[in-house]
Symmetry: C2
Subunit: 427 residues, 2 copies
């Protein structure tokens, strides 16, 4: 069986590599034609998609899949429209491929610049969320790449139905049918193969829980765009504008609890803690957020007569925790230096914000906090491809190399050097 | 013993990580002061450096090291001056750290941009070339990184002497003494440790032979800026300007045989092969270059009455070979399509050039050849950090992600997102 899977994945890899030569050279028009045709197919095959998805949902429910996962697996009429609209939006984005920038003439006479080009073949590994199939396919194709998509096995029928729409779109545009391949097996060995084929796969993008991503990062023989924890911080500086504090913390922590850019930890400068923390605490308590506070912060919050049930002493492990829940850790720090050191020690290098009116401390925070997004006077919730203007997002990278932070089409490309000569030779 | 090495490398790693926080925040002035002080120390300690190097060379000669390697190991008066001058040149380069670009205002009111920041800790693994110690140290420091340098064991005394100059320079500039650490052991286990410390090391740059780099790429648990083969091509297109052909091929192949950007394979469009190949062949024969040609090219070269000793039938493996010697493979191709397919199949994605006056084929070659440098009407020998205007080069990357092609200071940095807000929250 595993030999079969190995052979199957090698075949997909070889086909993807061959297709990637053609997608790299494909015109913007052909790629957009394919994306719009896929969207049309998805709308037309609505009934078939819903039926395939119902099969998956029934099987998963019978197998006892938990409600949150069932919810992600389920396709609704609205979800199908959103999938098609997503494809149309990606068609409308500018094509990054072929853009030549930074051309300069050198003393030798040559002109040197950079050209943006696809990475080649992208492997996407994700959980049982059928909408990711369409979304990832579109981002990979628009950026001139071939893709191999491996979704969660619970969604296999939904993914097959979506794959049929993708295939129809590719064919209508005259693009290679292997440009986007959906792995058509639920055998888990397929993932192990996909991440160890450097000759066929240029980069792996895992989308899913931390466990999945850690495993892939550990075992991959191919570069991985990793997104691990989002342990994001807001630091209330000595010179924070009181009018900005509660709105930012409220939005950063309570707008939604599950996204990775939600704030999990609040740092407060000692000199202003007694002044600001009671107001912040009252807002959090009113929203039902549990506060895990260090002794100093706890004392201030207790004096402010906040409901005792919401106040818990913080333990060391709280500083590292990504709660994804109505819980926040709170710590008093002596200074900006301590805040930066704390974030760089306990944070996850995702997104961190300072609230301050002080120019020098704002600039130091931006420079010295070693995270993929650093912010002044804004909610950490803004760390997002759409909010940053990328138009779309394949994920948020906590890698330092290649793509960092929200990854859009550019993150699925690289730049090569181009030299325009006129017969020059080197001295 | 290995426990000791493990502990030792962990200590270096921890120290480097701590120092990297300070080098990241260091001013351009402090970094340049350190680099100029290192250069001055190297000049002042000339006698000590020569003595330490003599010890290494004597030991290596007694151990039977081959002449080419002995030559690389040896430091001369001139080599010491070049090392110091190199440091001064890197001090004179613009500081990439902290540069903010691409700032745009978003509909939400936030302004989003990118800030260039150091990678953190860079591990450099190289062979017994003492000058690399100074050069790599300078590039890492200028780009705001901490570095752990592991040179070939034959150069241990030379490297210790250079490390003393580096340390003195760091101290004079008030920079952390652990910003640049030279691994002070000849135990090979040190390399294995260095490449498996993701918590302390952000990226590995191996400089050396293919065997070293392959091993490191295989075993590393840290991203590697790889440079494998340079199997570079020149393609003579149907519309090649005859006046450009011989000068470019001569320079690309024969200027120097050992660099990675030297051309190893010549492709010639069938329609013009009989016209151009005899002249190219005569030049190559005159330079003593052996031609390994496919049957068609061989027939043309034989008809041209070139010395039979220089003409050899090519075998399949010749298309993949990086000769690093006065040997070139020659193949006739039907068209640009075949040339591109050949290069993408057999090349090493390093540097490839087309000679043509045809605009459309030139642009297709640039776009479709999947190499780190692609050129029109210029010698492949230009693929070099200095020739491209990077000012310095830590290596040439054949990776597709992160740094591609010649890697200068920018390749040792990444970009993070910076958000300038005014109290905005997300809707």
């Amino acid at each position: 069986m595993n030999m079969d899977i190995q052979q199957y994945m090698h075949t997909l890899g070889r086909q993807a590599r061959a297709a990637s030569r053609l997608t790299a050279a494909a015109s913007t028009h052909a790629k957009n034609t394919a994306l719009l045709a896929m969207a049309a197919e998805i709308r037309q095959r609505r009934a078939a998609l819903l039926a395939a998805n119902a099969t998956d949902v029934d099987t998963a429910r019978a197998a006892g899949l938990e409600p949150a996962l069932l919810d992600r697996l389920s396709l609704t009429e609205k979800g199908i429209d959103a999938m098609a609209t997503g494809l149309e939006q990606i068609a409308a984005l500018p094509d990054p491929v072929g853009e030549i920038t930074d051309v300069r003439r050198r003393p030798s006479g040559i002109q040197v610049g950079k050209m943006r080009v696809p990475l080649g073949v992208i492997g996407i590994i994700y959980e049982a969320r059928p909408n990711v199939t369409a979304d990832a396919a579109a981002l990979c194709l628009k950026s001139g790449n071939a893709a191999i998509l491996r979704g969660g096995s619970e969604a296999i029928n939904s993914n097959r139905a979506i794959a049929a729409c993708i295939l129809a779109g590719l064919e209508q545009a005259g693009l290679p049918v292997h440009a986007i391949q959906v792995v058509d097996t639920t055998d888990r060995a397929a993932v192990g193969e996909l991440i160890t084929l450097p000759e066929f796969v240029d980069i792996i993008v895992p989308r899913g829980g931390k466990g999945l991503i850690e495993r892939i990062a550990r075992e991959a023989r191919v570069p991985v765009i990793k997104h691990l924890d989002g342990n994001c911080h807001v630091y209330i500086d000595d010179d924070a504008d009181p009018a900005k504090i509660v709105p930012i913390v409220e939005n950063a922590k309570t707008q939604r609890y599950s996204p990775c850019n939600t704030t999990e930890s609040l740092l407060v400068a000692r000199a202003v803690a007694a002044r600001h923390l009671p107001l912040v605490g009252a807002m959090l308590a009113a929203k039902g957020v549990e506060m895990r506070a260090d002794p100093e912060a706890l004392a201030i919050l207790q004096q402010a007569k906040l409901p005792a049930a919401r106040l818990v002493p913080a333990r060391e492990e709280d500083w590292r925790e990504e709660y994804l829940a109505p819980i926040i850790s709170i710590k008093i720090v002596a200074s900006l230096d301590e805040a930066i050191a704390h974030i760089n020690t306990y944070g996850s290098a995702h997104t961190d914000a300072i609230i301050t009116e002080n120019y020098t401390r704002a600039m130091r925070f931006l420079r010295e906090v070693d995270s993929s997004s650093v912010m002044v006077n804004a909610s950490t919730r803004f760390a997002d491809g759409f909010e940053y203007g990328l138009g779309a997002e394949i994920g948020i990278s906590t890698n330092k190399i290649h793509a960092r932070g929200p990854v859009g089409l550019e993150g699925l490309t690289s730049q090569k050097w181009v030299v325009f000569g006129n017969g020059e030779v080197r001295n």
